[in-house]
Amino acid sequence: MIPELGHYALMLALGLAVIQGLMPVVGTSSNDDVLIGMAAPAALAQFGFVAVAFVALAVSYVTSDFSVLNVYENSNSTMPFIYRLTAIWGNHEGSMLLWVSILTFFGALVAVFGVNLPAKLKANALAVQGWIAAAFELFILATSNPFLRIVNAPFEGRDLNPILQDPGLAFHPPLLYLGYVGFSIVFSFAIAALIEGRIDAAWARFVRPWVLVAWMCLTLGIAGGSYWAYYELGWGGFWFWDPVENASLMPWLAGTALLHSAVVMEKRSALKIWTILLAILVFSLSLIGTFLVRSGVLTSVHAFATDPRRGIFILTILVLFIGGALSLYAWRAPLLKQGGLFAPISREGALVLNNLFLTSACVTVFVGTLYPLALEALAGQKISVGPPFFNLTFVPLFIPLLLAMPFGPLLGWKRGDLVGAAQRLMAAEMLAAVAVAAAFALEHGGPVVAPFGVGLAIFVMAGALVDIAERTMILRLPLRAALRRAAGLPRSAWGTAFAHFGIGVTLFGIVAATAWGSERIVAIKPGNSVNIFHYQLTFDGMFDRSGPNYRDAVGHFTVRRSGGSLIGVMQPSRRTFPASNMAVTEAALMRRGISQIYLSLGDSNLSGAVPVRLYFKPDVIMIWWGAALMFFGGALSLSDRRLRVGAPKPAKRIRAALRAAG
């Protein structure tokens, strides 16, 4: 009964999505206020029905209703509650339903919070949201229905892929989807603006919070996925340049560019045409990401089952939306007026440079990810493009970007003073030089470029601090006055500084962990020890442990300083899940300051020795702390009053005050 309810609700949502997609467009072209007014209630109702469908699936999962095919295939009654819940999106059908749920959720948010928006813009944007929702709801109903039943219900489900039985599944996909789908709002606003043929700085002010929210979620989602892969896959790597990872990195790069170009548009009403194009491209990349992951053209843990019909369906959606949007852009963009002149050396110029490098980096990732697919489709030649390609293309494009980054916020709008900025950055430059020298002095063998990487990271971090120091004049004014200035700084300025500082932190972690990490891969027998960095690990033996739905073969290792004093115990394990008869490696991590000792077990062989992978990862945690700082910076920026309050609102309040006074 409950699954049928969900199925029915999803069909009703499709109907509402079609209404939401058609009525406002008819209304705005015929100036019919009733039809225009239908957009918001339709969006709310559609969200309500999709939510009913999602809850119905959730209930089926939580109650382990194995008469539902999707639940039978991906769940098991012995799984802990949290995994029975997260298993909803641990499979193709459920994760598409999550995708649509988030899409309609954002639509509802626009309907509720878009009170200050011009009525036509809002109606058209919601209509575009309706088209996207309709396309994906049709996709779910036609090819990926999660509510299908099995006639003879089995007693037990097949279990969720053990790799996915991890708290990471609770956060990573929803956050990524919040990011992907959040950009759909920006896309819808861009299309709506193109339909009207009118765009101004206010448009940028409307969309910037949405860009920020999507970007923040995507940042956290990518970082979370990276940490998950790091500890779960047992290889100690945090980024693999896997096509599926690239699929999420591309919208992030383009989204970061959009975040910056929208600032130029809002403040100086320049770069309008470019910003609109970026808005279209970011969501297109999100769609391409969905296509790559969901269609099964890539085979990986993310692809789940593959069905060619799905691939063709998503490809059709892709072509229609991206092709349609770009055609509309080509037709209407010449109508938009460019404004705001600026000199090449200026804040705007710096942001253009940022956009150039970010989009170029995005292009290299795009080519590296899609070229193998294109080559196989066209020439039948199978190749793989791995980390070396990206190290040779992506990295050289990011270096100038990061070098230029601290200069950007120090340049003035319209016309900046590069020499002045360089002088004000003197402290950061000197700190970076000291860091390079110190890294050279302290390192024992490592890539020659690594100390320069550390220098760059320090420069970026110090640059963010200089920006704040300059704005608060902390070195020139008495402390109290400087603090007053600090409190008065717009939160978006703090947000910029935090996010930029976070980039430096992440870079530092990447450089240190990659260049100075150490690795030992040995077969070890009980009683023997292995040394890494300043630590000695003694293997005491194996013991068995059982969990709710798995058995663990646990290795017990005692960790000491090389001098002898005891630090603690590490217990990596090999986890076997009887329901699916699969085994996964559960690595053990021990934090030492901001570094980590990483230990994972291999399959024990005949001689009784256990193969272990042991890594020392210096400063590795900074990679993810940096991402958290970027998220925090975004959140600060989002809480900025100027962003939250639409321009008309204060006026209304003043009018009300005047009325009360009069």
Partner: protein, 158 residues
């Protein structure tokens, strides 16, 4: 600076960065892409020693020998031809005789493929797509593989 000059600087800068990206990509494509080969491909058209490739097929049943220091030796087959492979390190969880495998590395001078990476796949039911295609091409694809891919392996463990 006139309006025209400003525009020229902007366009010139953009083209410069794009040209840089293009040059980087072309350079990277020359040296860093890795071709996928099946054992039959390798026998038909030998690959120069030292050139990195990916070799895919099934781990031949009964061919796996484990040595000291985590050394392993096995043969990769596509049903027609076999290629001997050596690897030192921890084999992935799902590495088993008779199962699909993709090894990355290069041939040494004696015709032995020295793998430095054995691709870790995360799913017991999963057969690498390249391997499926290679097996189909050599006529050794069996439908039971597809069934195996659809149903979790029962008792197929160690």
């Amino acid at each position: 600076m006139t309006r025209k000059q400003r525009r020229l600087v902007l366009i010139g800068g953009s083209l410069g960065v794009l040209a840089m990206a293009l040059a980087l990509m072309l350079n990277a494509f020359r040296g860093s892409i890795v071709f996928f080969n099946s054992p039959s491909d390798v026998m038909a058209k030998p690959v120069a020693p030292g050139r990195r490739i990916r070799l895919g097929g099934l781990v031949k049943s009964g061919s796996l020998l484990r040595g000291d220091n985590l050394k392993a030796r096995f043969e990769v087959t596509d049903g027609r031809r076999e290629v001997p492979v050596t690897y030192q390190g921890v084999l992935p969880d799902l590495f088993r005789e008779g199962q699909g495998v993709v090894a990355e590395g290069a041939f040494d001078g004696t015709g032995v493929f020295r793998a430095d990476t054995i691709l870790a796949k995360h799913d017991a039911t999963y057969m690498p797509k390249e391997v499926v295609d290679a097996l189909k091409k050599s006529g050794h694809w069996k439908d039971e593989y597809a069934q195996r891919a659809a149903v979790p392996i029962a008792g197929g463990g160690k």
